[in-house]
């Protein structure tokens, strides 16, 4: 069973991120995801306050950025939602994998995921992999796999293994990767986003379609809160 000692997780410092989207591009590039609507990582931003003017009594403005991909949750709602059992969670490291061979493109995983992490391409992004029908546009779902090749293999003989490409790409070093246990030890003030109070991160108790989930998903990410 995976546990905090072996569950891979992300760390995100919301103070450091300024929204450059380098991680978004790096993710697509490393994983061979062509330009198009399937984006494994996406940026979300929340503006709190107003642009300061005398009319609004010199309001303060703060911008919260949240950039995330699949959270590889402890209880992934996508796994339960898929009637074809095309999504599974690895026992050894907690990585959630979509088996595109089994996926029938119904999109239930996307609706169930609080973060809409699974994505579907269009025909210009990849050659259709499925028959098109009323429930499918012909493309199997896809999403982040924690750059599993980078974290398990030496990039070149004798070189150390690498963290996911988004982590290595971040200009302000806002991202980190490790097991939950490692990250908790390294960033003791980082918190879970599960309750939905961290700006930009939805709560883990509802799918992206708004329906309440049977179980909270408990995403595998720790966030350092802004100005904390």
């Amino acid at each position: 069973m995976h546990s905090e000692t072996n569950q891979f997780a992300f760390y995100f410092d919301q103070n450091r991120c300024h929204g450059c989207q380098t991680c978004v591009v790096a993710c697509k590039d490393w994983n061979g995801v062509n330009p198009g609507p399937a984006k494994w990582r996406e940026i979300h931003d929340v503006e709190v306050g107003d642009y300061p003017t005398p009319e609004n009594n010199w309001a303060n403005l703060e911008v919260f950025i949240a950039v995330y991909s699949c959270m590889h949750c402890e209880n992934p709602a996508c796994v339960d939602a898929c009637v074809y059992k095309a999504i599974y969670k690895r026992q050894s490291d907690g990585i959630v994998i979509i088996d595109r061979n089994k996926c029938q493109g119904l999109g239930a995983c996307i609706r169930a995921c609080p973060y809409s992490a699974p994505k579907v391409a269009d025909d210009a992004q990849e050659v259709p992999t499925l028959p098109k029908g009323s429930f499918t546009n012909g493309h199997a779902a896809q999403k982040c796999n924690f750059c599993i090749d980078r974290v398990y293999h030496e990039p070149e003989p004798g070189k150390p293994k690498l963290k996911p490409t988004c982590v290595g790409a971040c200009l302000t070093r806002a991202l980190d990767f490790g097991t939950l246990q490692e990250l908790k030890a390294k960033y003791p003030d980082a918190v879970s986003i599960a309750d939905g109070t961290v700006p930009g991160f939805p709560a883990d108790n509802k799918g992206s379609d708004g329906r309440t989930l049977a179980k909270r998903t408990n995403p595998s990410i720790l966030v350092k809160l802004r100005n904390k």
Binding site: E47, L61, K85, N101, E126, V127
Partner: protein
């Protein structure tokens, strides 16, 4: 399922040359790993769908590509490390530096502590694969067979045909009386290649660009008011910034525009080390998002008012702290101390030494023909250099501080209250002066003629006054002034503050304020342009292994250049005529001719002998150059056959300028050819894109020439009769700037050839090398091949690539020959390499850094520190440019410079008369005064004053409404009035991280990012996204020899995102909604954008990132619009007030309408 497997098998089999069976076997051996991956990102990505359920935890795939290191080739301050992962000749992935790093946040004395960051690249270089395999790569030479700009008119040519065409055009323009311009070429995808063009055109060279494009106003001011030694002020090195308490980023969005390497990470470290950040900026930009402790929302173009209020607070409200800062106890001592470093901050006192302004023999004090010690420009008196026409003191009430306090009060250090008026005039084209005035299609008179702005001479510049102008809270101004007086404040300035019509005054004022606040020459208490010192010190000769790495940035083979230079007869270097405001190139002056030709052939013709950019008109160093913002005006004036009596009465007959630019009026040689390489400035970055198109497509029936081109029978010399007879470009992509050219040569991108990134983009302690990783597409050739047609035109084409290999024509190893030759050129060029490495060793690592050097080069520059310690010491050239040897807050030279460019400098409006019957001296106005004794000329107002007053920009806004008579923006052209167009909003642009100027606007991986390209519903859109395999060739570019170019670069329903505050309205009062397609109009043009509603911009401000590609279409409801959203479509070619030097990216009023499409709109 199986279908996708089969497809991928066949692809992999082709690439690897292995059988399907063996491939199947190997894939099965690695289990279901491929379920996680595409089979190749250089080609079409397909997911290999294997039976993942057979093994729930398959072995992850291995990383098998070969890694090749390199660096950014484009115009970027980053010079970060980029690695491409290559498999079977195709780039599959792009990564960056992932070696262990040292940083300041680590525990001191730990192994991780230090200044050696990973050189991480940003989205631009991360998308390298997307550039290289983009749909709009140029693969073959193309020749335009129809009218310019018609994409369907381009026909594929062979290199031989292109060379013949270029040769024929060369002969044509040479016969016609050649005038030639080479615009700023950034080397968008490669090195700056102006050298090669200028080699070719040295024989017809007419003029080039004055100033640099990036820092024209800073450069200009450094020569006139003295800020360091003739260059932009160098900002601090990173570890020097660590010694400050506060960091002010003034007009410095440096994490997004990547002013220098790893800026966002360095700044972030400083913030976490406890430095406080104040952001002074109109936009709450990307840097503000994670840096701002305090955000001062200054309205674009009102920085000067903010500066004045800061000084007011220091003088009036915090005098005790000011005394403390200067370590004095009374005002007499304060005045004496300030005057040691700054001239004219206070009025002169009777017991001051007289300040000597020299009177040069040709009439202008600022004429630097007299060259001082160390080749500096000091101003000596008359011909015998001993006599002086007059002496000067800053007259009572004439100093900058008197201006700050206004007409009602007098500072204890001054002799009187401000003498300056409240309003100011402009030099503009008077009606009837130029009956065929160019540049105004409507035929109306110059909208600026007779109009007046404000200069607030009698107003006290209180924080409350400034609040209503700048939009910055008065108490925040007080707080910032307090910080300057009490803390170690480090100020970083960047280029955006220059992009207005009053940039010289405003930056000058900022400089003076910073010197007055003692923000210079101390560790942690300094100001400047970040990174400048780093790049500058590269040539400083620090003798470490890396620092001694030296090269020339010119890719032209030295031997060829030498031969060619010797061939150029002096007689063909055109005499531009000193009477026209430009230097006469005297063929009998052997020394200068040699220098001029050397400059032309060595790739620096844009600075033809020019030491630095303030180049005066009679300065031999300025050889026929114009500021970049003027050059379209210059071209039109030069081509005009009409002449007019000189309105200034000093030069006889002159040409018509669009904007009463008296230098342009002197244009003599009709510009007949323009060549460029990687030059967005040709059109998309030109000061006014519509103006550029008008210039490029201007015709004259008498010039029509349908003669067939020898060797290219299907092409004609000048069938349309274009006034600019030749437009030529070498590029990698079909950009808007390329689109209007006659012939296009296809270039190689980064990683398709060897490349040493320009030293301008490198830190002092870093040397970079980019190795070739893949072959270029089609017949694209390395830059060196661009010189081949040049050589051919000079009869040397047959053996161009060296004696060992003979050119045999396109398709026969031309790429290899060019590539090998270029490699040899690079190899020969190095006088040394980092740490004595071989080229091979260097190319393997891509980048070499030296920690010791990083530490060395970040110390305070010694000359700055010395000058602070002893202001009488101007050794090392520090402050050498000013008459006084000090920073000048009062500069007669500024007025005389302006006058020496033939600009009239009298404001005849009676309201502008100086108060208290004050008399301002300048040489030219004194001459007028002598000639008109009854008019009290020296008491009249001026267009350019000797102090940096706050003058609202031409098309700006104030925080107060336009109709507020006291604080409202003067809006001199009354553009806010409905009858003049109702332009009530302000527009500005910025340098977005996803583009480098106009480079990368079409890169699919960047277009799709949030807040960039969107469709008419406001959704992300995905233009240009077929990623092609370089080996297979892009289908629509794989033209047959007789095919025309099939355009697919610009697409329908793709818009650039613009940012609007929720309170910003359409002209009809309706709300702008998220995702609306908005028509943004200025006096010059219209663009279409997708609206994003945000609190990050102020009400009435519209912002769009620069560099989106111009794509004009005709619409039924809105006329001609640029649906590409190129911001330069909105801007103007009028120069800034004093130096005429900068583009107006923050000086543009616009109105907003909702776009109403029509079925008959052009697609």
């Amino acid at each position: 399922m199986r279908k996708s497997i089969t497809n991928c098998f066949s692809k992999l089999s082709e690439e690897n040359g292995i059988s399907r069976r063996s491939l199947m076997k190997s894939l099965m051996a690695i289990g279901a790993t491929s379920a996680l991956y595409g089979c190749g990102s250089g080609g079409e990505t397909e997911y290999i769908a294997l039976e993942g359920s057979l093994d729930p935890e398959p072995e992850p795939p291995k990383i098998v590509e070969e890694v090749v290191a390199g660096m950014a080739p484009h115009n970027c301050g980053g010079s970060c490390l980029t690695k491409v992962h290559v498999r079977n000749g195709v780039i599959k992935r792009v990564t960056t530096d992932e070696t262990p790093e040292k940083h300041f946040l680590a525990p001191k004395y730990s192994d991780d502590y230090g200044d050696l960051p990973q050189e991480r690249n940003c989205p631009r270089c991360r998308s390298t694969k997307s550039w290289i395999y983009g749909t709009n790569r140029l693969m073959y030479p193309l020749i335009q067979t129809k009218e310019r700009g018609n994409l369907a008119g381009f026909r594929r040519a062979t290199w031989e045909e292109a060379a013949d065409y270029i040769k024929a055009k060369y002969e044509y323009i040479r016969k016609k009386g050649p005038g030639y311009y080479s615009p700023f070429s950034t080397g968008a995808w490669g090195a700056n290649q102006m050298g090669a063009q200028n080699t070719y055109f040295a024989g017809v060279s007419a003029f080039s660009q004055r100033n640099n494009y990036s820092w024209p106003c800073f450069d200009f001011l450094s020569g006139i008011v003295g800020t360091r030694s003739g260059t932009p002020p160098y900002g601090d090195g990173w570890d020097h910034m660590m010694h400050c308490d506060e960091i002010v980023l003034w007009s410095s969005n440096i994490t997004e525009n990547i002013l220098t390497n790893q800026s966002s990470w360095y700044l972030r470290q400083f913030r976490e080390l406890g430095k406080k950040f104040t952001i002074v900026e109109p936009r709450f930009h990307q840097t503000a998002v994670n840096m701002a402790d305090k955000f001062l929302p200054v309205i674009a173009g009102t920085d000067g008012a903010l500066v004045c209020a800061l000084i007011y607070v220091m003088l009036k409200e915090k005098r005790d702290l000011l005394h403390k800062l200067y370590n004095v106890s009374n005002n007499t001592d304060l005045r004496r101390e300030v005057s040691k470093w700054i001239y004219g901050f206070f009025d002169s006192s009777p017991d001051d030494d007289a300040y000597v302004y020299p009177a040069d023999s040709d009439g202008f004090a600022t004429n630097p023909k007299s060259v001082g010690p160390n080749n500096s420009y000091r101003y000596y008196s008359g011909a015998d250099k001993t006599t002086f026409e007059t002496t000067h003191r800053v007259i009572p009430g004439g100093s900058f501080s008197a201006y700050i306090l206004g007409g009602s009060e007098t500072d204890p250090c001054n002799q009187g209250a401000s003498i300056y008026p409240d309003s100011i005039g402009y030099n503009a084209n008077p009606p009837g002066m130029f009956p065929n005035m160019l540049g105004d299609p409507s035929g109306k008179i110059d909208p600026l003629y007779g109009k007046r702005g404000k200069c607030y001479g009698q107003v006290a510049k209180t924080p409350e006054w400034a609040e209503k102008i700048t939009g910055v809270k008065a108490d925040d101004i007080r707080e910032l002034a307090h910080k300057f007086l009490t803390k170690n404040v480090n100020v970083t300035i960047c280029g955006g503050i220059q992009r207005t019509s009053e940039s010289e005054y405003q930056i000058w004022a900022l400089y003076v304020m910073l010197y007055f606040a003692r923000c210079f020459g101390r560790s942690g208490r300094n100001y400047g342009i970040l990174g400048m010192r780093n790049s500058q010190s590269y040539s400083g000769g620090v003798s470490s292994g890396i620092q001694s790495t030296q090269w020339s940035s010119n890719a032209t083979p030295a031997a060829f250049v030498t031969q060619l230079r010797d061939d150029i007869p002096n007689s063909v270097i055109h005499d531009l005529g000193s009477e026209n405001g430009y230097v006469k190139l005297d063929p009998s002056n052997k020394k200068f001719m040699t220098a001029a030709k050397s400059a032309a052939v060595s790739g620096v013709a844009n600075r033809l002998g020019d030491t630095h950019a303030y180049t005066l008109p009679l300065n031999p160093g300025s050889a026929g150059s114009v500021a970049i913002v003027n050059w379209l005006d210059y071209v039109e004036a030069s081509q005009s056959t009409n002449t007019f009596p000189d309105p200034v009465g000093r030069r006889g007959q002159v040409k018509a300028s669009n904007h009463f630019n008296t230098q342009v009026m002197g244009a003599a040689v009709p510009v007949n050819a323009i060549t460029a390489s990687f030059a967005g400035s040709l059109l998309n970055q030109s000061p006014d894109t519509n103006h550029a198109v008008r210039v490029y497509t201007a015709t004259d029936d008498t010039l029509k020439d349908s003669t067939s081109v020898p060797g290219v029978p299907w092409a004609q010399i000048n069938p349309n009769g274009y006034k600019i007879g030749f437009l030529y470009h070498y590029e990698c992509v079909m950009s808007p700037s390329v689109r209007w050219c006659d012939v296009i040569l296809p270039g190689t991108a980064q990683f398709e050839r060897f490349q040493i990134p320009s030293q301008m983009r490198l830190d002092a302690a870093k040397a970079g090398f980019t190795h070739k990783a893949v072959n270029p597409p089609g017949e694209a050739l390395p830059e060196i091949a661009m010189d081949w047609p040049i050589a051919k035109a000079h009869g040397r084409g047959d053996n161009f690539f060296g004696t060992d290999s003979t050119y045999k024509g396109v398709g026969v190893n031309m790429y290899e020959q060019a590539y090998d030759f270029e490699y040899k050129v690079w190899e020969n060029r190095f006088r040394s390499t980092p740490r004595g490495m071989t080229m091979k060793e260097w190319s393997k690592v891509g980048m070499v850094r030296d920690v010791d050097d990083l530490l060395k080069q970040t110390k305070v520059a010694p000359q700055e520190e010395n000058w602070r310690n002893d202001p009488s010491n101007t050794a090392n050239g520090y402050m050498r440019n000013t008459v006084s040897g000090r920073v000048e807050a009062f500069s007669t030279a500024m007025m005389e410079l302006y006058e020496s460019r033939f600009f009239p400098n009298i404001d005849h409006d009676e309201s502008a008369r100086l108060k208290n019957n004050a008399q301002l001296y300048s040489k030219n106005t004194k001459a007028l005064a002598d000639a008109n004794p009854g008019d009290n000329y020296q008491n009249k107002g001026r267009i350019v004053y000797p102090i940096p007053m706050y003058v609202p920009i031409m098309e700006g806004i104030h925080a107060a409404p336009d109709d507020d008579p006291v604080y409202g923006h003067p809006d001199p052209m009354e553009l806010h009035k409905p009858e003049n167009g109702g332009y009530t909003n302000q527009f500005m642009c910025w340098h977005p991280m996803i583009r480098a100027h106009s480079s990368f606007s079409s890169v699919p991986l960047l277009c799709e990012l949030k807040y960039w390209k969107r469709n008419s519903k406001g959704e992300s859109t995905y233009p240009n996204r077929k990623i092609t395999n370089a080996n297979a060739g892009a289908d629509h570019f794989d033209l047959k020899e007789t095919d025309v170019f099939a355009p697919s670069v610009w697409q329908d329903d793709v818009y650039e995102t613009a940012w609007f505050h929720p309170l910003t309205k359409y002209a009809d009062g309706r709300d702008i909604k998220e995702g609306d397609v908005v028509v943004v109009s200025s006096l010059r043009g219209k663009i279409l954008v997708s609206a994003h509603i945000s609190q990050r911009v102020r009400p009435r401000l519209v912002t769009v990132g620069q560099g989106s590609w111009y794509d004009p279409i005709n619409t039924v409801n809105h006329g001609n619009v640029d649906r590409g959203g190129c911001v330069n479509t909105l801007f103007k070619t009028r120069g800034s007030r004093i130096n005429q030097c900068t583009t107006f990216a923050c000086d543009c009023r616009v109105k907003l309408e909702k776009f109403i499409p029509h079925p008959n709109d052009e697609r």
